[in-house]
């Protein structure tokens, strides 16, 4: 592989990471839920896309129109039925954090169990637009390019929603200070539910995009959660552009490691980055100290 090929492959992967990390940063930054089942929501979406694209006269791109709203509804229901009672009961932030970690850890096993029953533990994939496209002097599969374009489109769309609309400003106010947000008439509970649902919708988009160019398995959720979490911390919790940048960086580093060192060491590379961030700038590369 040449350097350009590696770089493009890294950008494709990084774009996907950035996309899913944005969803997680919404959930943790605004809804204050540390969602350990996040990766399994991504995998669920990947399987959903797999099922949808197999239907007659369907393809994954149209599938997005089903899977992403589906993710939104699923996330909303999970928040309202599973997490909102915990939020209301928690006397302080630390208790909520522990409770949400435990609940979503339980949810992880439920989702994984359901996926295993439905689809088994084998690696799954489908072919979609696996045709070579020539770009910058190298050839890339068209599905990867589409994945990158989709990731960036979704990312920028959500960024614009959050920064340019009144509704997005309200969500960001909740992220900065839930108490003060209530004082100016923002319904924080609803904002949290919407943010959590939006986060799940982004996970669904990410899962669909991933399914277009990667194999996936029912038990692979942990790794995605881990990578999304590391990107979120690198970018600074609640910081969308930080997540975007950090996601691209992680994708490029991982692709470089798997091309030039060994594909079996990508998670080790991820952890090394995490370790460096923890020791050097735990508030994130682009974050301010807010906690």
């Amino acid at each position: 592989m040449t350097l350009t090929t590696t770089l493009i492959a890294g950008l494709v992967l990084g774009g996907t990471y950035a996309l899913v990390a944005m969803g997680l940063t919404l959930q943790y930054g605004i809804a204050r839920i540390m969602n350990l089942a996040y990766g399994d929501m991504i995998i669920t979406a990947a399987f959903a896309a797999f099922v949808v694209q197999a239907l007659p006269s369907m393809n994954p791109l149209i599938g997005l129109a089903i899977v992403v709203p589906g993710g939104f509804v699923f996330g909303y229901l999970v928040y309202v039925f599973l997490l909102s009672p915990l939020v209301k009961r928690a006397p302080d932030k630390a208790t909520l954090e522990v409770d949400s970690i435990l609940t979503t850890f339980g949810l992880l096993f439920v989702i994984q169990g359901v996926l295993l029953v439905l689809f088994g533990s084998n690696y799954t994939s489908y072919t979609f637009l696996n045709v070579p496209v020539s770009i910058f002097g190298t050839t890339v599969a068209a599905n990867r390019l589409i994945a990158l374009v989709l990731a960036l489109t979704f990312g920028l769309l959500f960024y614009a929603l959050l920064t340019r609309t009144r509704w997005g400003t309200a969500l960001r106010a909740v992220a900065v200070s839930p108490q003060s947000a209530q004082l100016v008439g923002i319904n924080t509970d609803r904002a949290a539910a919407v943010a959590f649902a939006m986060g799940t919708a982004l996970a669904a988009a990410g899962g669909t995009v991933i399914s277009m160019y990667q194999t996936f398995t029912a038990t692979g959720g942990v790794v995605f959660t881990m990578k999304a979490l590391i990107v979120v911390i690198m970018g600074g919790v609640g910081n969308l552009l930080g997540a975007l940048t950090a996601g691209l960086v992680l994708g490029i580093v991982e692709t470089t490691v798997s091309t030039y060192v060994d594909p079996g060491l990508t998670l080790a590379a991820t952890y090394t980055i995490f370790l460096v961030v923890l020791l050097w700038r735990p508030e994130g590369l682009f974050g301010r100290r807010v906690r």
């Binding site: 540390m34 350990l36 599973l82 009672p85 915990l86 630390a94 208790t95 954090e97 522990v98 409770d99 970690i101 435990l102 609940t103 850890f105 339980g106 949810l107 992880l108 096993f109 439920v110 994984q112 169990g113 359901v114 295993l116 029953v117 942990v222 790794v223 959660t225 881990m226 979490l229 590391i230 911390i233 060994d262 079996g264 060491l265 998670l267 080790a268 952890y271 995490f274 370790l275 923890l278 020791l279 735990p282 906690r291």
Partner: protein, 320 residues
Amino acid sequence: MITAFSFAALAAVFAALAAAPFFLGTYGIGFLLGLVGYVTLASAWALFSGPTRYVSLATVAFFGIGAYTVAVLYETLPSWLVLVVAALIGLFVALLVGLSTLRLAGVYFVIFTFGLAELIRQLVTWYEVNVTGTLGRYLFVDYGPEVVYWKLLALCAVTLAIGYFIKRSRWGLALKMIGDDEVVAEHCGLPTARVKLALFAASSVIITLVGAIQAPRWTYIEPTIVFNPTISFLTLIMALLGGAGRLWGPVVGAVPLFLLFEWLSANFPDHYSIILGLLFIAIVFVLPNGVLGFFEEHWNRLRARGSAGRTELSQDREAG
């Protein structure tokens, strides 16, 4: 409070457990072995995570390290030395995790431990495939399951004893304070990071030893077997069911859940993770302080009604 009588009763229980292999068949020994293993795991987990409320999701990472160390070294070193080596590796990893995360907010620790088992599994797989050229190892030892069981039982007793003495020492108070309010603890001059680190290391070494002692049970070991995330999950749910803040909580939680798990994995091998996951969520919702905390709360309330006036419900919510 444990009196001389309770000590005698406890000694009798352990003596009976130690004698059990002479009366039981292979299945019985295997069953007790698994049970004692999980009691030890849950107790060791609660040793650190109970009082400090730092949720560790890395149980199986240390368990797997222990088991794999034995699989690699059991032919070259005497068995006690293998255990020492396993403990040292566990200690090293625990210090690495602890030093990089325990001075930060608890959530970094959780995240780090969440992926740790997967990281170590991938590293071991990579090492086995690229350096030794084989994936999976056979493990034949010249002693039977009863020896494994006795070793585990001894480790279990030691773990409970450590838990008991920590609770009664200055360390126990320090830990409780860290769990209640870390900022206050720090202002009182407690070296919070060091206390947490030491306890996390102790807990991880015990978990590593459980893995190392249990390893011969498998005879064939490969990364996917010994780094199975279900082990982390079961340990956590057992400790939480009983009440992680109490000495006997994990024991109380481990026994029924182990029975349930045995039954589920025999009858619903494909569905047990769904059932356990739902059960786990239910426990977090209904019994946030565990069974023991629940009964203590209600007992206190009953007593409060009986002797109106001088009451204290201060023990409510002490564990969390």
